[in-house]
Symmetry: C2
Subunit: 397 residues, 2 copies
């Protein structure tokens, strides 16, 4: 039999995916599974975006321009201007989801064997895209005790080698919900300038920031024109994960020009989704206000309830819709599987995302889980009650 | 300034893209450009697919399963059964266009430095995906004198090294329009079995076959379960290039399992496009009969008219909607640019795709161009008239 590539063997399996068969089994047994494990919001997509697709008058579903249409990119530039990010349509390359933007960025800035420094825990698929490109992720641990703040900048400095091409952050962060401050961004800006490497910021949760806090984008740093690259996506902003439209944004011309070559090879982003995404830019501000209010109250319910569980530690998130909880168990992988296989409370159980998959350093995060607050408050309350009972039973085994 | 990757520098620019600014300039001067250079059909998308999207009742545009929905993959298996290809839904992984299928296949079967043998001329983006993966394309020349038939199988044998992971064909072929015979496929099957490598067939033009000829798929070879991988796409079949839905098909479990890891990292194919693609499977047979009739008559007009041009050589295509013409010029690149910059006939000119970009061997195809017959007959006639006049003027310079 012909052999599979080494790269194929090294590609990680999604940490959540491994649990999926156990969730299926539980459902077949008539047990309702509350999904705290996923990043798929239950919020409705703005009607203006849905209607644009329903009312489209396409007769030939043709390729879009590889870089996205000029009109969409111009409107995106206006969107960024409203967020104090000064870019032109030519600084924007539209991609098939934030995923593809990340993949293009890695290909554009790093070769096989090169390194990218990422604070851990981080979005697990960063590891997948790095593996697919033969690029090494150099993790730098952020700690639950510090609410997952930026690790000391000297720690970054120690890790920078001639192979280091970039520092990659996710702001606000999935899975921790941490929002980097302006001061932290300025520290990162200084270090990438000093070492002449890139600062890549995945800012897909830009709008999901609570209690009047402000998001500070790396592209608000006027001095970072050549070093800064933003990864973005419509997925969470407009609750349209299935659109698969994202973009990469940089004032560095060579970055955009090179990424465009990768974009040309795959021809075009999906046309219907572009119709939805362009219309979504007209979403009224009231939509975001409502969504934000909903998430804040969900977060508050979740954190308050979680903090009542003895032995559980949780960092209060200021952004996105996740938190990392340290559980009073040794192995969250085992516990997560047990929840699906052997536990229910009134025929309900919960699915959580074991956090080890969000760390690159072996051994870290073993007793942590990511909990997403993409369910309504009543379900969240029930979910935490299940978690509490389950921990008692599990630890009493 | 931080540096761009070596890979990024090596990524090829689309050969057509290089000409685009000259076409723009001509249009600004009021000259109409007839596009013989592109693979975007002017045929309407089946109404059943367009209507499915218009009438969708999605309220949350959610992620699709990474591998595509079970229902779509089951219907795809039925579609393949009708084409004498015996596969199960589990043998199918739905992708974001045929492009992504190819990208996943290369990642799944080849590491940096590995080689894939491809008869040239070939679809230019193969080179892009190989470059992005650090994989080398080993070309084997097919010749216009042989109508671009499969090169002698001994020539393949000479090129197979321990680094060779696959032979990749496009059947019917873009850019030549060549349709491989059952005998040719059987020869390829024997050689990949002998050397224990993969046979990858890009069969996206399966339906575009003329004069009652039959397509013979590599998966009709029952003995090739572990070695055969099909790349497929809805783009040309239903004239929905902008959907960005394709798939890879293989009865080799490890291939599907490994490719799924790449698929999980990018989360999901585009949801609206899946709605269109699933509905498109119900397209009535009459649609294909009409489309085929249209393409046959376009091809006949194009080839008949081209053959009237003195010094021009053309291989009559039996499939797809392209042909390669050898022009009485030294450098088709220069001629293509001149057509846009310095020539017009009654305020019209043509854009052709210089063929050198479809060859990996330096120097081959320099006097050739790919001509697509994706325009209606009257436009094609005018286009060939322009080509004829242009050649006379160009050669008289």
């Amino acid at each position: 039999m012909p052999s599979i590539s080494k790269k194929g063997h090294l590609m990680p399996e999604s940490p959540i995916r491994k649990l999926a068969p156990f969730a299926e089994k539980a459902k077949k047994l008539g047990i309702k599974v509350l999904h705290l494990n996923i990043g798929q919001p239950d919020i409705e997509t703005p009607k203006i975006a849905l209607d644009a697709v329903k009312n489209n008058n396409i007769t030939i579903l043709a390729y879009a321009p590889s870089e996205g249409s000029e009109s969409y990119r111009e409107k995106l530039a206006d969107y960024y201007a409203k967020h104090h990010i000064n870019v032109d349509s030519k600084d924007i390359l539209v991609t098939t989801g934030g995923s593809e933007a990340l993949s293009f960025v890695i290909g554009t800035i790093a070769d096989v064997g090169d390194e990218i420094i990422v604070p851990e825990p981080f979005y697990a698929n960063y590891y997948g895209f790095a593996s697919a490109n033969g690029v090494k992720i150099t993790p730098i641990a952020s700690r639950i005790e510090d609410d997952f703040a930026l690790p000391p900048i000297e720690e970054f400095e120690k890790l920078i080698s001639p192979k280091t091409k970039a520092i990659l952050i996710n702001n606000p962060n999935n899975p921790t919900g941490y929002l980097y401050s302006k001061e932290e961004i300025k520290k990162l800006a200084a270090i990438v300038k000093k070492h002449d490497i890139f600062l890549v910021a995945d800012e897909v949760y830009r709008e999901f920031i609570y209690e009047g806090k402000q998001h500070y984008s790396i592209l608000q740093e006027s001095d970072l024109d050549n070093n800064a690259i933003i990864i973005d996506s419509v997925s969470k902003r407009y609750s349209m994960c299935g659109a698969r439209i994202g973009c990469l944004v940089s004032r560095n011309e060579s970055v955009i020009k090179t990424a465009l070559k990768f974009a040309q090879a795959r021809l075009s982003p999906p046309t219907y989704a572009l119709v939805a995404s362009e219309a979504a830019l007209e979403t009224p501000e009231s939509y975001f206000i409502e969504v934000k209010e909903e998430y804040v109250s969900r977060r508050d319910v979740l954190i308050t309830e979680l903090q009542k569980i003895k032995g559980l530690k949780v960092a209060k998130p200021n952004g996105a819709f996740y938190c990392i909880a340290e559980l009073p168990v040794k192995n969250a992988d085992d516990f997560a599987r047990w929840l699906l296989e052997s536990f229910n409370l009134n025929n309900e159980t919960i699915m959580i995302a074991p956090a080890a998959g969000f760390y690159a350093t072996d051994g870290l995060g073993r007793n942590q889980a990511r909990i997403a607050y993409v369910l309504e408050k009543e379900s969240l309350k029930r979910a935490v009650r299940i978690l509490k009972e389950a921990l008692t039973t599990y630890n009493g085994k």
